[in-house]
Amino acid sequence: MSDHKHIAAEFSPVPLRAPDDVMRLERLGAFYPTRLSFMRTLIRRLNRDQARVSRPVWEIDDEGYGRAVYSVDVDGHRYSLVAFSTRLAADQRTDRVIAEAWDTSYALFDGEPTTADLDRLEANAPRQEAGRFEPSELVLSRANKSVRFFEHVVERLAQGRQPDEKMVGSIGYLMRTTAVYGNGKFGIADRTRLSDRGILAGSFQAEMLTVWLIRGFSHDLVEHIARCRAPETFVPIEYRLKRHLGIGNATGLGMAPFLVTHPALLNNWVQGREAALARVCAVAESDIATIKRAVELMERTERHLEQWSIEDERQMARVETVRREWREVSAVVNTDWLSSPHPWQRLAELSKDRSLECQELVVALLLECHGELVDDLADKMMTAREQHLDSSMPVATLLDLCRTHFSWALDIDFSDRSETHLFWYVSEEKLEPRLGNRYEEDGAELEMPLDIGRQVQDMARDLGDADEGLCVAEFLLMHPQHRHAVRRVQGVAHLPYSEIRDNLLGERCLPIDMLRCKLSFFGASKFDPKSDRWTRITLYQGAPLFDEVTDANADDWWLPVLTCRQ
């Protein structure tokens, strides 16, 4: 039985897509950034609230080392990015968690830091996980230079020349963040401190603000070094190039468990996106302005896809497929075609016999041209309350829920070694999350509980043997080991998009799909996988610069394209 019918479709006559379709790893791994992604939401809010960015401290030497502070005044509060740039030996430069030193380090400070605060942070921020922080710090982060490109830009600007456009297009950032910590890590403020802060109250908004400020710092730093190197010949980066320089990010397995350990949040993210799609598909007829906008965005998308070239063979093949499919779709979908009834539903249908990349790109496009219709849903994606354990539920009801929502798991043969091939674990080495082969490596007995499907199958077996008249409290007295599975199953009954509906232990599981899913909700683009469990991405590419954030068109940077010189 499908649980599709249980999902409220708000006021839309179009039902939301079924969780059994949406929550598969393969589809999650094809998600694109949308206008509901957190970076987009943040920039819209900064724009709405007329945020002002200033740089009260710039104590950076001629070689680019020292400290700086950027302050954002918004919504009656001041938030300050405290940035440190330090020397780093090449043999220490790694983007992995196991790193112990970085080119730059950062803290987002709640308010305006005093000199004493700066000194305290200077002693701790460059040490990252080895440092200690206070609740006045909201986010902790670090970034490494994209070494060859950073030096190229310095050299070109110092010579009075602009950076090579091909490199700007193919690399797209001067630095890569390698971790962005929030919510109480290493002593920084718990998320509850931000719960009444309006603009920063929602999912990852403080982290996204930090990354936007880091991007601005990377621009300033490269120009500063170039200016100091050759003040007579120096030129700043052209705005169109600077706007295209986002901030890179290197992401590994640490991001994947988050989606499993925060089911209510995952549900709200996906449900918001699906509700938005349903609203758009329910539009019976569209106005000419929206149709023109859609056609424009389809052209932009085609150019964006052309500029997305990477080394990873699997992803590059998918990009080539979606390029071809997009051209096919674009050949059909013109102003006349969209002027007929139910244009967006028909466009979604048109994509259904194409790749998942193409289907999800269409979803993102449909949302992009309907801001007024969908933007309010971003608020519902921002917070979540995990479901409580209902110990009064009859055992028979719990078993029904297993069958309804976890049929995908009940059918898996976990005695087949290929279905338990992987185990997720935390290494004692700087607590780096890793993935092992259960049958070749030690440590499987310490695996993290990401085996939700296996847990539910085990519980369903015991539920089937239990007296139907029992309630969950009585069942757990006999089977206390199933407490975790009870919560998961009860949760998904209310939050249908809260569970990834695939076996995360299976040989076919590709963690990169989970990374892309989460990163798409951040708003990342240009996914550049380096393996099946590690990817580089670009954040804030095309986004407004500090002095553009209050401009009228500050929200128009979905799927950025590097424009040619006019």
Binding site: G184, R434, A473
Partner: protein, 207 residues
């Protein structure tokens, strides 16, 4: 006593991992972590309570004796009997009161009651030496030394004692260190193979 300040998220994460390291199931460990945080926000030694309770984490849970509208857990281990007692009390069955006798860490059971009451928005009263009080008005000093503790389902809504405005907890440094040792049991020893293959990424990134 030497103390350290830890964020509430650090407290939750550490207690959950310590409980797993001590042998608790993941479901129980989550509950203990939440209970520890609840106690910290109520100004109590949540870290110490969870740490103490994990010493009996592997004690088998015995079924309670049911007598009318009451359930009694004998020889109560807070880490296992505590969650089970709250399950029963909030199960909408005929059970209106649960008692844990010979309880090893009564403070932790109060934390478990506090978090479950908050989650379900149900009023839970705690009874020590015959006097029933809301969790908010509970005499924690008296409760800590109780040998038996009874919880009664109230008629109203939530009566939680936790202060949601608390932003960090001051915890005993030695207890925290003990938790770290337990948590370390959940980490897989590093090997060259896991270093190279486990994360699927480069060791250096000088491009």
């Amino acid at each position: 006593m030497s103390t350290v300040v830890r964020s509430l998220n650090e407290v939750y994460t550490m207690l959950r991992k310590a409980a797993i390291g001590a042998g608790c199931s993941h479901g129980i460990a989550e509950e203990l972590g939440r209970a520890g945080v609840w106690l910290c926000t109520a100004g109590q030694n949540g870290v110490g309570a969870v740490l103490s309770a994990t010493q009996a984490a592997n004690v088998r849970l015995n079924a309670p004796t049911i007598d009318g509208d009451g359930a009694v857990f004998h020889h109560g281990c807070a880490a296992t009997a505590g969650p089970a007692a709250m399950d029963l009390l909030l199960s909408k069955t005929d059970i209106r009161r649960v008692r844990i006798e010979d309880v090893d860490v009564p403070l932790l059971v109060a934390g478990l009651a506090g978090i479950r009451a908050a989650e379900s928005n149900r009023a839970v009263l705690v009874e020590v030496d015959g006097a029933a009080k809301s969790l908010a008005a509970c005499d924690f000093e008296r409760l800590k030394h109780a040998t038996a503790i009874t919880f009664v389902l109230g008629t109203g809504q939530l009566s939680s004692g936790a202060d949601t405005g608390v932003s960090a907890a001051e915890v005993d440094a030695a207890a925290w260190s003990d938790c770290e040792k337990l948590a370390a049991r959940t980490y897989v020893p590093a090997t060259e193979q896991s270093r190279v293959r486990g994360a699927g990424a480069n060791i250096t990134d000088n491009d």
